[in-house]
Each structure stands twice: as C-alpha cells, then as structure tokens.
C-alpha cells in the first residue's frame, strides 16, 4: 500500500511486478543437447563475473520471491555457485539451481556438491532431463542426484521436453524413479523449435498442434540476466530479440529503473496479459497477414512474431492501435488485484 501511494505521487504506475529472477550464469555446458534453446556447448565462453552476479542479487527488489541460477550448466562455476546461492539466500530469496545432473556418476561427489549447496541456503533443485539429455546423461545420474537432493530436504523437480514419439514420458520416468501415486515433481512440456532445436529437430513431431495459446506468465514477472549480460524481460528462450531486451549492457544500479520502464511497456504487458499468439491473431486480422497454423508453445509464437519480417513489420502499428487499450485493461485488473 505504501509503495502504491509513493508511486502514485510520483506519477508512476505499479503494475506487473517481477516475482522471479533468473540468472544465466554461463552458457557453457558439458552437453550439446539437440533441443537446447541457448545452443550451449563446452566451448561457449559467455559467462557472468561472480561479483556482477552478487551486485545484481543485492539490487533486487523485495517483490522478488525466487532467484534461479541456470545456464548452461551452473555447476561449472564450482565453489562460486555456493557463493551466489548464499548471497541470494542471505537476502531472503528462495533459491533454485537448474542442472543436467552431469556430476551424478559417483555418489560421494553428488553428496559433496549438494551438501555444500545445502549449507549455502539452497531451497530448490531442478533437473533438466529427457531423451535429448539422455544421449549424454544416463538415467542413473539423475536418480542419484534426485534422491540425494530429496534426502537433504530440497524441493526437487525434473523438467522434461517431449515430442510425439518420445519414449521417455512423465509416467515412465516417475515409475523408474520409484515415485508413488502421482508424478507432480515431473514437469513435461512440448518441444519448441528454438535455438539449436530449430536446426536439428525441425523434423520432430510435436505432441499436438495448438490452435490458440495462452498469456505468457513469465514476461515481466520473471526477468532474466543472460550470460551475455543482457537484461531480458522474460526467460530468454529467444535471447536475440531486441523487443525483449531491457538492457543490452546491464549494470546492476540500473536494474529497478529498467524493470519499471518495462512494466509501462504496452507490448510487454500485451504479451503478459494475452500472450504472443493473441498479438499474432490481432496482426493477422487487421493486416490480412497469414500466421502459421502449428505453433508449439509461447516461445515459438514469440519467435514467429518477432522474427518473421512480414509479421514483425506490423508490431509497432499494432501497439499504436491496441497499446492504450491493453494498458487500460492491465490497470483495471491491477485495481482488482487480478494481475
């Protein structure tokens, strides 16, 4: 309430606020997965300096509930990963690390790495594993990391990407892990053809075609600092998209100003409230432009929107025509606390 009053007198709106903040600590990764949206490799040198990460954490607003460390492979930071988790934990944020569990061969190494993170204040561990990861990481590795993390009291989940012919499904993985009843800790989602997947998996058959997609709950609510030191409005699955970049050469002292500017951006609010497919449909209807029939997720819809020249050229006109309406709608929903 106090914050709202202050912002009111400053003439600044206080709308969709970030609740999560992701830090892509590096785009280096021991694996070269076919579906990797960041096209990570062992040779990739994009990384953030440890001091810069800690300064960024210290600049985060109290509206943030969770800080997630991902990549690339964050465990490649070694002991520095413990330092940044501790910095976030000391500020009262819930902390999450996302890993491929590549270090899961020997139990004593798994225990040592996870114990160190436990003592640094880590709360959550997410393992990315599916048929694409399986080419590099045997099931036994994630079994070891999953159950060791559970024993330490971490909240643990496994993210799986699936296509129509995938052998490994949520149910199969749940059974192999020995989970009972339901498999809520396993999150399945459809293959999106972004990053390396666009080249290597263009023949893959998605789970099903989607006629209409939904709001993007990540844009504005979950900004990201990329390993290329760009501040992004969302998760950064399509990182080289200028409309989604809030700062091309990020400095921590500018964090809150950049996020405030983003919260007043009609395009980002449109994406958050209605999703990229809604913008595609609007452009199609008003400018008589064809849009693809098969789009397999919001990130793929964003790629089509921003990277198809015949569509992207209409975005500014769409904002001119519909931007104020969107901001009015977001403001009304903000009054009702329905954002």
């Amino acid at each position: 309430m106090l914050r709202s009053l202050i912002l009111f007198f400053l003439g600044v709106s206080d709308m969709i606020k970030p609740t999560h903040f992701a830090i892509h600590v590096t785009y280096a990764c021991p694996l070269v997965c076919a579906h990797c949206c960041f096209s990570s490799t062992p040779e990739n040198t994009d990384s953030l300096h440890i001091d810069h990460i800690i300064e960024t954490i210290n600049a985060l607003d109290s509206s943030i509930k969770m800080v997630g460390f991902t990549g690339g492979e964050p465990f490649l930071l070694g002991k520095k990963l413990n330092d940044i988790v501790r910095a976030a934990s000391n500020k009262g944020f819930t902390t999450r690390v996302i890993t491929s569990a590549y270090f899961g061969k020997h139990d004593f190494i798994v225990k040592k790495k996870l114990m160190d993170l436990y003592h640094s204040g880590l709360n959550e561990l997410t393992i990315s594993w599916d048929e694409y990861h399986k080419k590099f990481i045997p099931f036994e590795y994630i079994y070891s990391v999953f159950w060791t993390a559970k024993q330490l009291g971490f909240t643990v989940s496994i993210n799986m990407v699936k296509e129509k012919n995938s052998v490994w499904t949520k149910e199969k993985l749940g059974r192999e892990l020995g989970l009972r009843d339901n498999y809520d800790e396993i999150i399945e989602s459809n293959l999106n053809l972004n990053g390396r997947a666009e080249i290597e998996l263009h023949d893959a058959i998605p789970i099903e075609s989607v006629g209409k997609l939904t709001p993007c709950s990540y844009v504005l609510a979950g900004p990201t600092l990329s390993a290329k030191n760009k501040l992004l409005a969302c998760c950064g699955v399509i990182p080289e998209t200028s409309a989604l970049i809030l700062d091309h050469d990020f400095k921590s002292e500018n964090l809150n100003q950049r996020l405030q500017e983003a919260s007043n951006n009609p395009l980002l609010n449109w994406l958050h409230q209605y999703g990229p497919y809604d913008i595609l449909q609007w452009i199609s209807l008003h400018y008589n432009v064809d849009i693809p029939k098969n789009i397999n997720g919001n990130c793929e819809a964003c790629r089509v929107l921003f990277h198809t020249p015949d569509i992207a050229c209409h975005i500014q006109n769409a904002i001119n025509d519909r931007g104020l309406e969107v901001m009015n709608e977001v403001n009304i929903l903000n009054i009702l606390d329905w954002l």
């Binding site: 009111f8 003439g11 600044v12 709106s13 999560h20 903040f21 992701a22 949206c37 969770m66 997630g68 991902t70 990549g71 999450r96 996302i98 990315s128 989940s157 993210n159 990407v161 699936k162 809520d184 800790e185 999150i187 399945e188 989602s189 999106n192 998605p206 789970i207 099903e208 989607v210 209409k212 997609l213 939904t214 709001p215 993007c216 990540y218 979950g222 990201t224 998760c235 699955v237 209605y274 999703g275 497919y277 397999n296 997720g297 919001n298 990130c299 819809a301 104020l324 309406e325 901001m327 009015n328 709608e329 403001n331 009304i332 929903l333 903000n334 009054i335 009702l336 606390d337 329905w338």
Partner: protein, 98 residues
C-alpha cells in the same frame, strides 16, 4: 501518462464505495468513462462475467487473479503441457508443483 495514472488512482479510490462498485459491476464502460478511462466492449463483457457474485472491491481482490483467468480470461486450451503453453524452461518461473 501521469493524467491517466491519476484517473486510475481516482477510480481505484471510488470503487471502494459499494454503490460505485455495483455501478461498475453492471456497466464497467460507463463507470470507467466517468473517470476518463476507456474500455473496449470485449473487455467489459469479460469483466462483467468475472465480477458476477462479487460484492465489493475487497471481495474481488481477495479472489486474486484466478477470478479473471478462470472466469473471463483468454481461452486456456490444452497445449500438451497442462501449464499454459510455456516452454519447459531451464527452470525459472515454472512452479514446481501446480
């Protein structure tokens, strides 16, 4: 922008009055227009649906965003993820258990 923000602040304040809230509930376009805020008929229709059986602004606020998303938000088709079309990120933002 400041003028528009002030319009919304005045509207927010006014909606705390139960009578004004009822007017908003029955005709969001007309009530908002009194405060200088234009709404589209499509949005007003969704809003009216979402505001059914709600008595006060406080009641609406207690419902949280599920009030809008479930009652009058955009369609939520099954996209195969059960989670609204998002990519399985390398982690952040994705609730661990819905």
């Amino acid at each position: 922008m400041n003028t528009l923000n002030q319009s919304f602040q005045r509207l927010r304040h006014a909606l705390q009055d139960e009578n004004i809230f009822r007017s908003f509930q029955s005709d969001p376009i007309a009530l908002s227009a009194k405060y200088g805020v234009e709404l589209t008929p499509e949005f007003a229709k969704k809003l009216k649906l979402g505001l059914q059986n709600i008595n006060t602004l406080e009641h609406a606020q207690l419902l949280g965003k599920s009030g809008f998303r479930m009652e009058c938000g955009p369609e939520q088709p099954d996209d195969g993820t059960g989670r609204g079309g998002g990519y399985a990120l390398p982690g952040i933002g994705m609730p661990i258990v819905d």
